[in-house]
């Protein structure tokens, strides 16, 4: 058997080619307009960086939202859930501090007992980190299919800048053999460093962040280092890609990072959902990718770069295959979830997100 040396390059590339065989988005139905948040804290409706954000309902959490995204991914993959060898969820909002989210999701979607199911945590890149592991698992031949999910019911302190954007949603990806995929994974590259831009200590309800420090040394340095290195190592340039998706804490950051890397607005906008669903933390870049897969054509190349505070970025290069056209209509599209919309006011939001002290 051929055993090529693959560790002396920066790229993560498997000998056995892998790809996304099924994907599924989930975005809850409720929307909190940015003007509601602005009105409460500033007395004016102006100032929100986003139009609105998606808010999970009273009976939703990362487990229920992951179940629906995973069911959508299974519909598109058209595989027996018992063939999955991993059910992995990356999130900042796991419902339990101790008790895996993945086991509940695995039971609900009909996966077998023969799986890996630990939860992942790396701020907003927990889901893409799980995808890297899924690629490794399938690429090594240990598994034919592995499910990686990025999902959050994001936390933002009342009156903090994050309250405008911290939203709920995410997406699920089933990684499998490239020949069965809707998008082949060419390679990935991850760049991480100890950068204290944003964190949440145990038992704290809301995260702390380093204000403007979250920009240059954190978001931009990691996204651009990961993206640039991946392009260089692949010998590719921005214009080779039809779409580029970046972690999206607000509309400005991904647009600037993209432009710094040579991408245009036309490449970035189709995957830029933050203006209408907010920043879904570990779900953010992954649900942007699902929106792009919903419209991509065979042969399109896609760049995906996540960012997680603390800090790091995972960059993926993907090529869409012919299978996309027959598979993508098997489950609701990302746009359909965005269109299913019920506006709520700030008072309802505080109830839905458990911000009222019941004494």
């Amino acid at each position: 058997m051929e055993n090529k040396q693959t560790t002396n390059t920066k790229l993560l590339r498997t000998n056995r080619k892998t790809g996304i065989v099924g994907y599924g988005a989930y975005i809850p139905r409720y929307r909190l307009p940015g003007s509601e948040v602005a009105m409460v804290w500033t007395g004016s409706e102006k100032g929100s960086p986003v139009k609105e954000k998606a808010v999970a309902g009273l009976d939703e959490d990362v487990i229920t939202m992951s179940i629906e995204a995973a069911r959508n991914a299974l519909l598109r993959a058209d595989i027996d859930p018992c063939e999955l060898r991993a059910v992995w969820i990356g999130s900042e909002s796991h419902p339990y501090a101790v008790k895996p989210s993945g086991t509940v999701v695995a039971e609900a979607i009909g996966a077998s007992n023969n799986i890996q199911s630990g939860d992942w945590e790396f701020a907003c890149k927990a889901g893409s980190e799980a995808m890297v592991a899924a690629v490794a698992m399938v690429g090594s031949g240990m598994a034919n299919y592995a499910l990686a999910i990025g999902m959050d019911t994001a936390q933002g302190k009342p009156s903090d800048a994050l309250e405008y954007t911290a939203g709920s949603g995410g997406a699920a990806y089933i990684i499998g053999p490239a020949e069965e995929s809707v998008a082949e994974i060419e390679a990935s590259y991850s760049f991480v460093s100890d950068t204290p831009d944003f964190w949440r200590r145990p038992e704290q309800k809301y995260p702390e962040h380093g204000q403007r420090f979250t920009g240059d040394p954190a978001y931009f340095h990691h996204i651009e280092s990961a993206g640039r290195t991946l392009l260089e190592e692949l010998g590719a340039k921005a214009s080779d890609f039809t779409y580029a998706i970046f972690h999206q804490p607000n509309p400005k950051f991904p647009m600037k990072a993209g432009k710094d890397l040579g991408f245009t607005e036309e490449q970035i906008k189709p995957g830029l959902l933050v203006p209408v669903i907010g920043n879904t933390y570990a779900g953010s870049s992954l649900v942007g990718l699902s929106a792009v897969l919903d419209i991509a054509k065979p042969g399109d190349r896609i760049l995906l770069v996540s960012f997680g505070s603390g800090a790091g970025s995972d960059a993926f290069a993907l090529t869409v295959t012919d299978r996309i056209t027959s598979r993508r209509n098997s489950a609701p599209t990302t746009a359909e979830y965005i269109a299913r919309r019920t506006e709520i006011n700030y008072a309802t939001y505080t109830r839905f997100r458990g911000k009222i002290d019941m004494g």
Partner: protein
């Protein structure tokens, strides 16, 4: 909380997994191992599609213990496409008006949680207006 009681029901509660009778093909929910139609032994597992129609409904404003945080909510009797009737909450209604005969689909949601948030979270089926035709 009575963990074993809930744990035993995981499959039927999370994903509407019931049974199909090998003698008369009747679909059975909840699973009871004996066919209510023909009386024969029926232990073959059957996963319901989750599609159905509202047969009847009511609105709960005064909820039993463990459900208070969700009031007001709608409880419906749903006629599943495969035959059986189930009682369940409706969810994600937004501003949609519930009507008898309305097509609904199963979703897995939080059903119960203690106010102190110390106990286990009980997940299970609810129904919402169908997203796709």
């Amino acid at each position: 909380m009575e963990n074993p009681r809930h744990w035993r029901l995981n499959k039927q509660r999370y994903a509407l997994v019931g049974e199909v009778c090998p003698h008369c093909e009747a679909k059975i929910f909840p699973p009871r191992d004996v066919c209510p139609e023909c009386g024969g032994e029926a232990k073959n597992r059957f996963g319901f599609s989750g599609k159905g129609k509202v047969f009847s409904y009511t609105i709960m404003r005064d909820a039993p213990a463990g459900y208070e945080h969700n009031t007001p909510y709608t409880v419906a009797i749903v006629a599943l496409d495969e035959g059986p009737m189930v009682t369940a909450q409706l969810t994600d209604l937004g501003s949609e008006k519930v009507e008898i005969g309305m097509p609904v689909e199963m979703v897995t949601r939080k059903i119960r949680e203690d106010v102190e948030k110390k106990g286990m979270i009980i997940y299970g089926y609810k129904f919402r207006p169908v997203m796709q035709g």
